[in-house]
Amino acid sequence: MIRARGLGRRFGDRRILSDVDLDVGAGEFLLVTGPNGSGKTTLLRLLAGLLAPTSGTIEIVADRRRVGVLGHEPLVYRELTPLENLDLYGRLYRVPERRERSGMLLERYGLWAARREPTSSLSRGMVQRLAICRALLHDPDLLLLDEPYSALDVGGGELLDGELAGHGRRTVVVASHQPERLAAYATSGLALA
């Protein structure tokens, strides 16, 4: 599903990522690890298409409509409610029965009671739960997650564990500082230096 050869990215004179080769098949789970500044976020942004590589090539065999991304930023509007945020993305991703799907995700991630509150009034952990709902809303075939456990409490982390444990046909690429938590699901690993 993902094939990258000689992938590299510079920001000005600073080389963030160099010469990364990657093969991730459909249904596989790739765990990306590495210290701060090793290029994990840059790699995920390259895979998501938010950045263009300065060297190398990427091939992703997935419809843009079927890719879900959870980055450092939640990519939700603070001024809108969780329900309005999911409704907007549901429309853009043409999610069938988006209201039912949004409601189901909000309930699963413990946000149903806060569904009509402005997102700006939610805690950081609740916003991260909403960001997970946004990334999963269109039931993506390829899921790109950058530090997904960030700001999540024990309950939120367990919900995400359940999601990743049952990834099934879904291809997952996760960048994380908690490899021990994800090792059980990973089918391959990439350590960036």
Partner: protein
């Protein structure tokens, strides 16, 4: 095509909803345009011409529009929500069109206050003036939204946007003012229409390259 316009409607609705909740832009525009017209009223000599009054109105409208354009992509950049829109499978030009429509709505709000104020302080509002403003709005919103997206990526966006936008807006002022004061308003209105068409197509087609690498 229905899907495209449904994306545009969803994105414009989102911007209007965000403005309704934050009231960041429209109240500032209303206060600015009224304040500018009041200041110009006292700055202009009593016997100044209709031409001078119309010129002042166009200056006030142009700078009021800049307030909306500077704000148009600031929230999207600061909250990184533009990434969310770029990741979505919608056509990138739909993001531009949705934003253009919301900017257009903000301009109409400001003008709904500015024109009665202009009639109060200066001259009566003619149909040529209203037609000129309506056509200029399309040009301001379409090209301004594109330039707003470009400027929002820069740290000095408040400085950069006027530098990019004002030169491009000169034809709009020439056309709008010409339609208001000349004996042949149709010629100037046609010029404004042509400007809108050309710049709307250019902005629509180039927006994708502005928001992606």
């Amino acid at each position: 095509m229905t899907g495209y316009f449904s994306d545009v409607a969803a994105l414009a609705r989102k911007d209007l909803l965000v403005e309704l909740r934050t009231r960041d832009t429209v109240p500032a525009m209303l206060l600015f345009v009224v304040a500018a017209l009041v200041v110009f009223h006292f700055a202009l000599p009593q016997d100044s011409s209709e031409l001078a009054a119309s010129g002042m109105l166009w200056i006030a409208l142009l700078f009021t529009a800049l307030l909306a354009l500077v704000r148009a992509f600031v929230g999207e950049r600061e909250q990184s929500t533009l990434d969310g829109l770029i990741l979505a499978p919608c056509d990138r030009s739909a993001i531009w069109l949705g934003k253009t429509l919301s900017v257009l709505a903000f301009l109409l709000f400001a003008e709904a206050v500015a024109l009665p104020a202009f009639a109060l302080f200066y001259e009566r509002v003619t149909w040529e003036l209203v037609a000129g403003i309506a056509l200029a709005n399309l040009g301001i919103a379409s090209v301004g939204t594109l330039l707003g997206a470009m400027a929002a990526a820069a740290r000095t966006r408040e400085l950069l946007l006027p530098l990019l936008f004002l030169p491009v807006a000169i034809p709009l002022v020439v056309g709008g003012l010409g339609a208001t004061v000349s004996d042949d308003p149709a010629r100037y209105l046609a010029f404004l229409g042509l400007y809108d068409l050309i710049f709307a197509i250019l902005s629509w087609a180039s927006f994708e390259y502005v928001v992606t690498e």
